[in-house]
């Protein structure tokens, strides 16, 4: 494409069907403790 460079093509919706296993870290356990950020957590679902 001439006008657009896409950085991310993976569709978040596709992750919903196999998601929700809950094996990942609770966000507040990592480093924040006062300000919630979920998008920086690692996925630990091997079957995704």
């Amino acid at each position: 494409m001439k006008h657009i460079k896409t950085l991310k093509t993976a569709n978040l919706k596709n992750s919903a069907a196999k998601g929700g296993c809950g094996e990942c870290q609770a966000s507040c356990q990592s480093a924040c403790k006062t300000s919630c950020t979920v998008a920086n957590q690692k996925c630990e679902n091997a079957s995704r």
Binding site: K2, K5, T9, S15, A26, Q41, K42
Partner: protein, 450 residues
């Protein structure tokens, strides 16, 4: 829904519901102000709106590319996440914030825990209570294998013998119940010695080391009991612990207030000290504190985040990059949509347990009786309150439903909502604005380094 913004030389477009991220030129960026490119041909009215700035050919080709993204579900993707709300509830409990010490050997002026005792008197958890907490999470964890226990306080090293006993007890149950305990500790470092460092580095999957940054900034609010410098005491210990950690996870973690709105300098100072895993975040305080952040500070804070993003890009390009917790983002393999919908999980997947064995939705609620969920001693547990927290998601929070950042922050901190807005389903505006800026900067960094 899309969100578009300019940062430095980049035009960035996020497609909220697909999570797609695009860097576009000026004509494509401006096109999105006047049209949603859902039809294959560029409408005449769109060309008319932009023909003074761009040639018709440029407008048409940019439109066609945008339409292509729309067809591929990467632009103006429909929001049909309501279909997944059934997955948001009935989650087992998998994480504990274990308050092994409601006491502290520092007197930090911004402490949300009333300088360590959470307003309930200075207490240490006994082993019996710790055992019951471990039994509680195993019993409530269903089929979750990975269980997390963060030793928290106050200052948990003030009760380190009990920490060790609890770790040993939990490890002894892993095989029997098919669980994998991940222990973490959040410490101010004052009591670190060789033995404790070795133990932490062996048993704790992550360690959070509290320090605010530059010496004057740190010592101004993180005060010792005798008035000596906290910074001078902890920096050598933190360096030593990290050097001996063998690459395992850690964070140096600080807090910024109105007293150091130039907090990027504190982050960079921590990096200059040799730390590469850094989190410095805003203190959330009531207005009665003179150093509480307020909405009028936002323009300065935004500029500071931008400055930090630029410097992080620069250091990365020089091969000296570091991680800033709130700028970390994995665009391809980040958390699934369900986790993003579910949010932080407090009161639902994650609870805090006090030295007395009382259960609260998270560490930020501790000490506020109205939020007490139960006790590991009596076995009481308020499942209705758990359900209330299970429903505190971006799907259920009115302010989040139309926010472009909802799949990044996942609804924000419920404790901030309760404490400042009086309702866990409302949003704390100051926190939201800072979080949105951090997400913009995180994506900008990815774009600059792509």
């Amino acid at each position: 829904m899309i969100h578009k913004y300019k940062q430095r030389d980049l035009n960035i477009v996020l497609d909220v519901c697909s999570g797609a991220v695009h860097v576009v030129d000026d004509v494509a960026y401006d096109l999105l102000d006047v049209t949603e490119p859902k039809s294959p041909n560029c409408p005449d009215g769109v060309i008319d709106a932009l023909k003074d700035r761009y040639s018709k050919e440029e407008i048409r080709t940019a439109y066609e590319e945008l339409h292509e993204l729309y067809k591929e579900g990467q632009l103006f993707c429909e929001d049909d996440y309501m279909a997944f709300t059934g997955k948001l509830q009935e989650a087992p409990i998998k994480a504990l914030c274990l308050h092994v010490a409601h006491d502290c050997n520092l007197r930090c002026q911004y402490c949300f825990a009333s300088t360590g005792d959470f307003g309930g008197g200075r207490k240490l958890m006994d082993f019996e209570t710790g055992k019951k907490a471990i039994d509680f999470v195993i019993a409530r964890s269903g089929n979750r294998r990975n269980l997390e226990v963060d030793f928290f306080g106050g200052e948990p090293l003030m009760n380190f013998d009990v920490v060790k006993q609890i770790v040993e007890y939990a490890r002894g149950l892993e095989k029997q119940y098919n669980k994998n305990f991940r222990f973490t500790v959040t410490t101010n470092g004052m009591l670190l010695d060789d033995d404790i460092m070795d133990y932490i580095n062996k048993e704790m999957s992550n360690v959070v080391l509290s320090i605010d940054g530059r010496k004057d900034v740190n010592d101004s609010l993180r005060r010792t009991l005798d008035g000596s410098s906290c910074y001078d005491h902890i920096v050598p210990k933190f360096k030593e612990l990290v050097a001996r950690r063998g690459g395992k996870d850690y964070y140096v973690r600080g807090t910024f207030t109105k007293k150091n709105l130039d907090f990027a300098s504190d982050v960079l100072h921590l990096n200059d000290l040799g730390f590469n895993e850094i989190s410095v975040e805003p203190a959330v305080l009531e207005d009665k504190y003179t150093f509480a952040l307020t909405e009028e500070d936002l323009p300065v804070i935004f500029k500071e985040y931008e400055k930090l993003a630029d410097e992080l890009v620069e250091r990365q390009k020089q091969g000296k990059g570091f991680n800033f917790f709130h700028f970390m983002i994995d665009l391809e393999q980040g958390p699934c949509a369900i986790k993003r919908l579910r949010g932080c999980g407090c009161g639902n997947e994650y609870v805090a347990i006090t030295p007395d064995g009382d259960i609260y939705p998270c560490h930020q609620f501790v000490g506020n009786e109205q939020w007490k969920m139960g006790s590991v001693h009596t076995g009481e547990f308020n499942n209705d309150m758990k359900q209330t927290f299970a429903k505190a998601t971006v799907v259920h929070k009115k302010d989040c439903q139309n926010c472009w950042a909802r799949f990044y922050c996942s609804g924000g901190c419920n404790a901030n909502s309760a404490n400042f807005e009086g309702d866990i389903l409302k949003s704390h505006k100051l926190s939201c604005e800072m979080e949105k800026k951090r997400v913009e900067c995180a994506i900008y960094i990815k774009a600059k380094l792509a």
